[in-house]
Amino acid sequence: MPLLIPSPETLRRNPEKLPEAVAQSLALARANRHLGAFIELLDERAGVSCGEVMARIRKGEELPLAGFIIAVKDNISIKDVPLTCGSRILDHHPATFTATAVERLERAGAIVIGKTNLDEFAMGSSNENSSFGPARHPLDDTRVPGGSSGGSAVSVAAGWCHAALGSDTGGSVRQPAAFCGIVGLKPTYGRVSRYGLVAFGSSLDQISPFAHDCTSAFEVLHAMAGADSHDATSAHVKVPECEVLSLPKNKLRVGVVREFVDHEALAPSIRAASREVCDALTSAGHTLVEVSLPTAKLAIPVYYIVATAEASSNLARFDGARYGKRSADATDVNSVLELSRGIGFGPEVRRRIMMGTYVLSAGYFDAYYRTAQKVRRLIKEELQAVLAQTDVLLTPTTPSTAFRIGEKVDDPVAMYLSDIFTTPANLAGLPAVSIPWRSDESGLPIGMQLMANYFDEELLLSAGMELERLRPGV
């Protein structure tokens, strides 16, 4: 879908047009409220930032993200703005500080227009698990936009924003990016500070941008990446000097993951699209290398053990004692905790907390958590070995295109399988991106995933740029 507001370049050249563009963006979101993309629109705050950005541009400041109008998933904190995580348990909770990533984007000149809808605490693949109702696909509102960062994906795909932040724990940015036909980049674990991102699976979570193309995804990443003294897991690895992305300087060695391109769950249209991508790459002079990731088929069970274990602990703080929802029926300390959690969390969150509690329990820890960590290491080693022989790996992003709302809600395992191609990158901590390729016969977008080596987002995105160049009809 086309961008419905002026491009960042236009706004950078004509900063006086910024207020109008911001107003336009907000108006579009409001007019399309039925898509459920936003939980809160921040008109006043956006107005203030707009004024600040214009003043800084007038002073001659170089703002790398001047002209960027963005949306932020509502599990990322912005001081004094309500932080809901799509959950009832965070009723009336204004955040007490601003996430490092948001702070850096705003410093670089980006203007945040609102907080977007998501699966409660980022747990889901369809954005149906939100206490604010589902977000809907911009091309077909009977379908899901993907999840958990559904609202952010819609805000960009529908053409209201230049970019948006989501969080990707097992595919929560790449999968909705694929469903909605935009770029979704999960950076290397540690590349972007997690400070201010409400944790789901701390060892997997990464704040991740959506954008219309690889170039702007790279610009957003560049502005927010880098070590942060508030996040011990943020990496002290140099952020690439280059601020502008270019096509790959050399021909690529592209690893094609056998188990994934031939996966039995793959929709025929996506299988066909994968073949087209391979052909296009070959025609363009790149080398395809068939590679195998035998352990990767265990990624889903491993992911659902690790992520739920961490989530069961991460979500323990939502107890009604200090902030958020407190049950009116509570009579003492323990009942505050028990009753508040009971009414505050939705069914999917409760299910994952129970799974996570179970896999960490005495007597089950070794069989589940410890085993999962071992397999996780094997998956990581396997991916590293394969990436040692190739520049990037190619897989489809999702086994199907956007499904219908309600289609999978009663079958959590079917829902979990949406993440089958995306979870390995989270388990290994590798960067990965979903690039829109073409649409299927019903006009729904198909996304292709690329993975690259640690901290090599530059190569990853220039390979993505090459896919954009080779895309049919471009």
Binding site: S77, F97, V198, A199, A309, V333
Partner: protein, 478 residues
């Protein structure tokens, strides 16, 4: 206690470190502030906040481990200990489970007239929780200032065979923690806390029976009383044919009674798992060695030296080697050359008196070692007598001129001069013809009378040795 039974006890000590800021955030680590004023998103467990380990926490823990002779692990990691309580804002405590900061070490104690070694199993880093209070109106309130204060948990082997040994261990350990400046050891305020695991067994037996755990022991005396009481309780159960069940007891210091807290079924399931928000703690050998080199000489070694090399008595030894600053002050006064017994006398006497009078701690004592040393030297040389020196010292508290200037201003003109003193002697002798006559006739002990008179005339500032010599010469002169 019956002689047929023997206590087997182990202690778990939680020591709050004296860092400027909390373990994982930048809030001040202070006791006694208004409730919930020393808090931030991190220690309050606000959504999205992350912990970042404070280097000073590691550094103080390292000193502690070195002081007890333990082995610091160059690799250790943090884990989450999950449980729900209103004073635990994140719903888990950051601790160390299967890869602790250190293992090993020991503390020498003396109890019941015998020396003994208590082995330390391990020490690990963790964070403190907040403080819950239950009000009379039924409400519960929480103070989160304590959340995130760095703790080291020191776990001993079950090496204690009596309550007295446990008390002695705590005393030595507390002294050590204070001496190296990592914990103020205040049990009432909870900066040092003690849990005790207690079981009993027939004397001579080597098997371990079921143990109970006692929490909230907030003084050394209560640790001893609680162990004593719990051992008696267990013995009574065994002797009446009963079975001791694992449980946690709480010592109520209002009633001096143990009350059961909760029945432990097997053990609590804390669902420990590696803390994903923190990277493993990797230390360099060089850091450990540098910390070791920077360690002060510890009390036990100082005591041995003071006793054996300086010949100080037990009281002086204990007094001068228990508090770090006092002990360091003592050593800097000695400066490797002054008489240890005489310097000890000064500190135990006059310095103590002044500290008490002004309500000072030793580090507030305004007379530095160099100036005080000069004063002591004047006394040793005989140019000032002790009483005058006391007055000079008092003056030095608020006057930073050198000893001689103060002494002469106070009129303690140092009467070193033979002629000057000889003149005074002459006057005294001349003005006491009767006494002089009697002396000449053999009442030699009248020299004491003359000494007194001359000293008085000299304003107390005559060098006594010189005075005696000159006076004797004058009296014997034909």
């Amino acid at each position: 206690m019956s002689h047929d039974w023997e206590i087997v006890a182990g202690l778990e000590i939680h020591a709050q470190l004296q860092t400027k800021t909390k373990a994982f955030c930048r809030c001040p680590n202070l006791y006694g502030a208004d409730p919930n004023t020393l808090v931030c998103p991190v220690c309050l467990g606000m959504p999205g906040a992350l912990p970042v380990l404070n280097r000073e926490t590691v550094s103080q823990a390292a000193r502690l481990v070195i002081a007890v002779g333990g082995t610091i692990h160059l690799h250790s990691k943090f884990d989450r200990k999950n449980y729900f309580y209103a004073d635990l804002p994140k719903g888990y405590q950051i601790s160390q489970y299967d890869e602790p900061f250190s293992t090993g070490g020991a503390v020498r104690i003396s109890a019941g007239g015998q020396e003994k070694t208590i082995r330390i199993t391990r020490a690990h880093l963790e964070e403190d929780a907040g403080k819950s209070m239950h009000l009379d109106n039924g409400a519960s309130v929480v103070d989160m200032n304590r959340c995130g204060v760095p703790l080291v948990e020191i776990v001993s082997e079950p090496d204690f065979r009596s309550a007295e040994e446990a008390g002695a261990y705590l005393t030595v350990l507390r002294e050590l923690l204070r001496f190296i400046g990592v914990c103020d050891g205040n049990m009432e305020r909870g900066s040092l806390r003690c849990d005790a695991n207690v079981s009993v067994r027939p004397r001579g037996s080597h098997d371990l029976r079921e143990r109970t755990e006692m929490k909230n022991l907030n003084s050394i005396r209560n640790v001893e009383r609680a162990i004593e009481a719990e051992a008696e309780r267990q013995i009574a159960i065994y002797e009446s044919g009963g079975v001791v069940h694992r449980q946690t007891l709480q010592w109520d210091d209002q009633t001096d009674e143990l009350r059961p807290m909760r029945v432990k079924e097997g053990s609590d399931d804390y669902r420990y798992f590696p803390e994903p928000d923190l990277v493993p703690l990797e230390l360099e050998t060089e850091f450990v060695e540098a910390t070791r080199r920077a360690m002060p000489e510890l009390p036990q070694s100082r005591r041995k030296r003071y006793r054996e090399e300086f010949g100080l008595n037990d009281e002086a030894v204990y007094f001068l080697a228990t508090e770090r600053r006092l002990s360091d002050y003592y050593e800097s006064l000695l400066d490797g050359k002054r008489n240890p017994v005489s310097v000890a006398g000064w500190i135990q006497g006059e310095v103590q008196r002044l500290l008490k009078e002004y309500g000072w701690e030793i580090e507030q004592f305004p007379v530095g070692a160099t100036r005080f040393g000069a004063l002591m030297d004047s006394v040793d040389k005989g140019s000032l007598n002790r009483n005058s020196a006391r007055d000079v010292l008092r003056m030095m508290l608020s006057d930073d001129r050198d000893v001689d200037s103060i002494a002469s201003e106070l009129g303690f003109g140092v009467k070193q001069d033979d002629t000057q003193l000889a003149e005074i002697i002459d006057q005294v002798v001349t003005s006491s013809p009767d006494e002089f006559e009697r002396y000449r006739q053999g009442k030699k002990n009248l020299i004491g009378y003359f000494m007194g008179q001359v000293m008085k005339a000299a304003g107390g500032n005559a060098n006594p040795k010189l005075l005696q010599k000159l006076l004797a010469e004058r009296l014997e002169r034909e």
